[in-house]
Amino acid sequence: MYKLVLCWRYLQTRYIALASVISVTLGVATLIVVNSVMSGFTHEMQFRIHGILSDIVFDGHGLEGFADSEWHMQRIRQIAGDDIQAMTPTVHVPAMLNYRVGQRWVHRQVNFIGIDTTTYPLVSDCADYLQHPKNRDAPSFQLRDGGYDVQDRELGEESPYRHGMEMAGWPHRRRIGAEEKAWVAAQKKNNPQLAVPERVGRADPFSGIATPLRAAESEEGVVQEWGPVSKDQVYDKATQQETGVIIGYALAQVLGREGDHYFLVLPGDDVKLTFPTAGTPPKAVSGSFTVVDFYQSKMSEYDSAFVFAPIEKLQEMRGMINPSTGVANVNSIQVKLREGADLEAVRDKLRAAFPPELYAISTWRDKQGPLLAAVQMETAILNILLFLIIAVAGFGILAIFFMIVVEKTKDIGILKSLGASGGGVMAIFLSYGLLLGSVGSGAGLVLGLLFVHNIDHVRRSVEWISGQPVFDPSIYYFQEIPTLVDPQMIVWVIMGAMAIAVIASVLPALRAARLHPVEALRYE
C-alpha cells in the first residue's frame, strides 16, 4: 500500500521526472502518427493495386497462351465454384506504342492488354479509373463526343488543369481530320501529279494489315464489326474511328511549367501499336488504333504501361484464333472472388488442379510482393528508429531516477527502519517507473491520435507557416494524407514504451533496495 501512496506522492511532487517523460510522450506520439500514416498509405496503395489487378490471375506461360478459355473457366468454376464471383479472359502482350508529336514519332514500351468490356469491369475496378463519366459506368472502346474530365475528379478544384481535355473526343478528331483533308487538298493543288494516299492517318508500312473500319456516326449502340476493310472504302477521319484503345494516363501526359497537365495524345488521336504475333518465331504486327480514353489508377507503374484494346481484335491480329475450329487462345484468366473468400486457399486449390508447367496461378498479393515487402521494410526500420527515441527517453528516466534515489536516500532509510523490505522499496521505484511510463505513453497516445485525426489541419498550418507545400496531392495522388489507426499497433507501442520505462527504473530501484538502512538514515 505504501508503495502506491509513495509513488503517487512522488509523481505529484517530482516534476523533473515528468519532464523526462515528455520524451516518452513524444516518442509514442510519433510512433502512432508514423505508423498510422504508413499503414494508411499501404492500405490505400493495396486498395488501388487490388483495384487494378484481379484477385487471382490464371496465367498460361508464354505469349501464345492457351486455347479455349470457356473450358478453363468451367474447370475453375468446378474447382472453386462457391468462392468465384466473376471471371474474364485477357490477352497480354508486350507492345510498342507509337504516336506522332509534330514531325517526330514517339515510341513507348507498353503492356498491351486485350479485354472484354462486359466482363472485365466485373473483376477489377478499371472502369473507375477512366476519364469519361459514361466510360466509368460502362467502359467502351467507342470515342465519346466530348465531356472528358478536365480536372482530376477525386482531387477536384485544387488539381492541375488538363489542357486540351475540354475538346477531347470527336470534336478533337473532327478538327484534325479537317486539317489533314485541307493539307491533302493543298498538296494536290500544288502538285497534281503527286499521289497522296487517301488514308493519310496511316503510315504506309502498316497499310497491308487488316484494320476494320467502323461506323461511327452515333456514339451509342454501335455494333462492333470485325473484318478487313474493302479496298474501295474511303476512310474519313472526321467521321470514322479505328479500333479504340484506352491508354495509360502517364503515357500521354506531360507537365507544364505551372504544374498543369498537357497531352502528347488526346482521346480522338490515332496511335500505332506494334507487337509480336502468337506464332513461332513471332513476327511483329502493327495496327492503327484510336485513343478513346485515359486510364489513370494513380499507380505510376500501371499508368505508364497499360494499354487496353478489345480482346477479339488482339486475338485476331496476333493469329490466336484457330482457323478450323474458330476457338481463340487467351493468355490469362482473371478471377474475382466472392467477398471474404480465402485468396490463398483458392489459389492453392487451383494450383493443385492445374499442372504448374502449363499454368502460373498467383494472387494479386503475390504479384505485388516486392512492392509490399519494400513498404513493410520501410515501416519496420522507421519503427526501430522511433523506438530508439523512446530508448533514449529511457536513459533520461534512468538518470533522473538515480537522482531521485540519491535525494530520497534518507526516506528509503526511514522506510526500512519501519520494516519495509528491500523488495518493497524496489517496488516503489519500479511502480514509479511504470506510472511515469503510463502517464507518458497515455499522453503520447492522446497526442498521437489527435495529430492523426487532424493531420490535414496540421499539414495546412505547417504549409501556411512555412510557405512550402508539405504534401503535394499531385505527387502522391491523395487528396488528404491517408491514415489508418491499427489498435494492435497502438497496444504494441504503448506496451513497448511502458516496458522501456520500467526497465530504465530497474537499476535505480535495485540501488534503492540495496541501501543499508543505517547508512541511509545517516545520509545528509
Binding site: 500500500m1 502506491l4 522506510l415 526500512k416 527502519s417 519501519l418 523490505s421 543499508h516 538502512p517
Partner: protein
C-alpha cells in the same frame, strides 16, 4: 491501550518546565516522581551478549562496540548515555535490527534476533519495535496522519490495509489525539515544529502496538521545554503501558529520570 495522559489526574507538575506546559496543556503535565516499581523482578526481555561492531573506513577498521553485555527487563526505561562516538547509536541500531553485529548476540524474548533472515528482521522492526530518531525522520511528502499510518501500510498487504483502513485511520487519529496533534493531522512535516514532528514520530512508533520503543536521542534536536515534553510522553508510555523503552541520550538530566542509566565508554558498558 490505556490513556497515556492518565497521570495528569495526579495534578503534580514537573519542576521548572511543568508550570509552563501546564498552562497550555494541563493534561500532559506529568508527575516528577513516579510511583512505579523498580523493574528488577520482571523477566529479562532483551539480552545482549559480547556484542561487537566495527566500521570500515577505507583500509582502517574502527571498532565501535568492543563487547557489550546488557540485560533489559520488560517494562524497563533504560537510558544509554555516553560521549558522542562511543557507540550508543550503533548499539541502538543493533537492538533495532537495523544493522547486524560482527560478533555477539542479541536475544529478544528468548529468541536470537541478530542473525534472523532479512524478512523476519523487517517484520520485527515493523510490529515489535518502535523507533524514534533525533531528526524525527518523517517522510516529507506525507501528512502527519499518513506518516503515522506508514508502519500499518508497510505491515499490512494492499488488500489487508484497504479492508481495515477505517479502523487504522481511527487508530491514527487516537494516537495523534494522545500526542495532542489532532489539529495537525493534515499538515506536512515541514509545517510542524520540531516538538510536533517528534510527537508525530512517537505516534508512528506506537501505531503497530510495539513491545519495545527504541529512541535515538529523541530530544537531541529540541529545546529544553520541548525535549522535556517528549521525555514525559515517553515516561508516561513506560508507566502506563509497561512499554520497554531504550533511550539513547547525552542529556544527563534526562537520563537521571530513567529507571536505569547505562554508561557506554569506548564501546563497553561501564
Amino acid at each position: 491501550m490505556s490513556d497515556i495522559t492518565s497521570h495528569a489526574s495526579h495534578g503534580r507538575t514537573a519542576p521548572g518546565t511543568g508550570a509552563v506546559l501546564s498552562q497550555n496543556r494541563p493534561d500532559l503535565s506529568c508527575p516528577a516522581e513516579y510511583d512505579h516499581e523498580p523493574k528488577s523482578n520482571t523477566p529479562v526481555q532483551i539480552s545482549v551478549r559480547g556484542l561487537k561492531k566495527n566500521y570500515q573506513r577505507g583500509s582502517n577498521v574502527i571498532p565501535v562496540l568492543r563487547g557489550v553485555d546488557l540485560d533489559i527487563r520488560e517494562g524497563e526505561f533504560v537510558a544509554i548515555v555516553g560521549q558522542s562516538g562511543c557507540g550508543k547509536s550503533t548499539l541502538l541500531h543493533l537492538l533495532g535490527t537495523l544493522d547486524q553485529p560482527d560478533a555477539g548476540e542479541i536475544i529478544f524474548s528468548d529468541q536470537r534476533i541478530d542473525n534472523l533472515a532479512a524478512r523476519k528482521r523487517d517484520r520485527l522492526r515493523n510490529d515489535t519495535f518502535g523507533l524514534i530518531f533525533q531528526f524525527y525522520h518523517l517522510l516529507p511528502e506525507l501528512t502527519a496522519e499518513a506518516n503515522v499510518l506508514l508502519p500499518l501500510m508497510i505491515g499490512q498487504g494492499f488488500f489487508g490495509y484497504l479492508s481495515k483502513r477505517w479502523a487504522f485511520r481511527r487508530r491514527a487519529a487516537e494516537l495523534l489525539e494522545k500526542v495532542h496533534l489532532s489539529h495537525r493531522r493534515k499538515h506536512k512535516p515541514r509545517e510542524l515544529s520540531g516538538g510536533e514532528m517528534q510527537r508525530v514520530a512517537i505516534a508512528r512508533a506506537l501505531v503497530n502496538g510495539p513491545q519495545v520503543l527504541l529512541a535515538d536521542e529523541p530530544t537531541g534536536n529540541l529545546d529544553r521545554a520541548a525535549g522535556q515534553e517528549i521525555f514525559e510522553i515517553l515516561r508516561n508510555l513506560n508507566a502506563t503501558e509497561n512499554l520497554t523503552i531504550v533511550m539513547v541520550t547525552h542529556d544527563e538530566k534526562l537520563a537521571e529520570q530513567a529507571d536505569r542509566t547505562v554508561r557506554l565508554v569506548e564501546g563497553r558498558i561501564e
